[in-house]
């Protein structure tokens, strides 16, 4: 069930983390474990920052069912040219502005994958879709 949709503006570092923070609060409200909440926060923040740095803006959708806490990051381009390279630790196409703020280390996507239970990434020049899933209960 779709719980909430967030609009994200490209290049707006002033709001960075606010969506992740809200999603973390919702995860807490659903009684998820501290460890899972930590993983949700890390993955969500990295994905949010990626959209701010690299995309032309988009939406983040949170949906929750009995077993899963799912977050979809949908942007409107310009897409990831080479997903295989983008997944490689240390690879980054972030600009100097982002790098000066301490972003663009090329650790974002690997961090996201490491912290999520399911990870699907689709991209073409019209946009990127990143779907992350987290098991609501650790024992599942």
């Amino acid at each position: 069930m779709l719980i909430k949709t967030y609009e994200l503006t490209a290049d707006d570092f002033t709001q960075a983390g606010s969506i992740s923070s809200d999603i973390r609060k919702i995860a807490k409200g659903y009684g998820m474990s501290q460890e899972t909440i930590r993983r949700v926060a890390v993955a969500c923040y990295e994905a949010e920052i990626n959209m701010i740095i690299h995309s032309h803006g988009g939406q983040i959708e949170l949906s929750i069912d009995d077993e899963w806490f799912n977050i979809a990051f949908k942007d409107v381009g310009p897409g990831i040219e080479n997903i295989e390279l983008a997944m490689k630790p240390g690879w980054s196409t972030a600009d100097v502005v982002a790098q000066n703020m301490g972003f663009g280390a090329g650790l974002g996507l690997p961090n996201i994958k490491k912290n999520s239970d399911t990870f699907n990434l689709f991209s073409d020049p019209n946009g990127t879709l990143l779907q992350l899933g987290f098991k609501r209960k650790d024992t599942l």
Binding site: S18, F103, L107
Partner: protein, 109 residues
């Protein structure tokens, strides 16, 4: 050691105070924010030379006990406001990162 005790022992001033009675569970240092997101742990004090507003989001999401700015760095008004809203403890050390860490090691971390 609590944040209040760290402040008393080092004389490092507060830039922003939240709950200063919470314990510091360890130390993390890093300026690459993805590295910090990946490796920092809840309750740690985070030493960084970064001063922009995104460090507050990271400290909040990672539930760090405090941020320790180095080299007498300060936060701008906007970042201070975000730190206040999120009740994030921020101290500043007059020392560079290495000397700041040495001080903390001498205190038993």
């Amino acid at each position: 050691m609590t944040i209040k005790e760290l402040h008393q022992k080092t004389d490092w001033p507060f830039v922003m105070q939240g709950n200063i009675d919470q314990p510091i569970t360890g130390i993390h240092t890093g300026d690459l924010l993805s590295y910090v997101m990946g490796h920092g742990k809840t309750g740690q004090a985070w030493i960084t030379m970064q001063t922009h507003q995104n460090i507050i989001a990271i400290a909040s999401l990672k539930e760090f006990s405090c941020i320790i700015l180095i080299d007498d760095n300060d936060l701008d008004q906007q970042t201070l406001g975000i730190a206040a809203d999120n009740e994030i403890n921020v101290l500043k050390s007059p020392l560079d990162a290495f000397e700041t860490i040495k001080t903390l090691v001498k205190l038993g971390f």
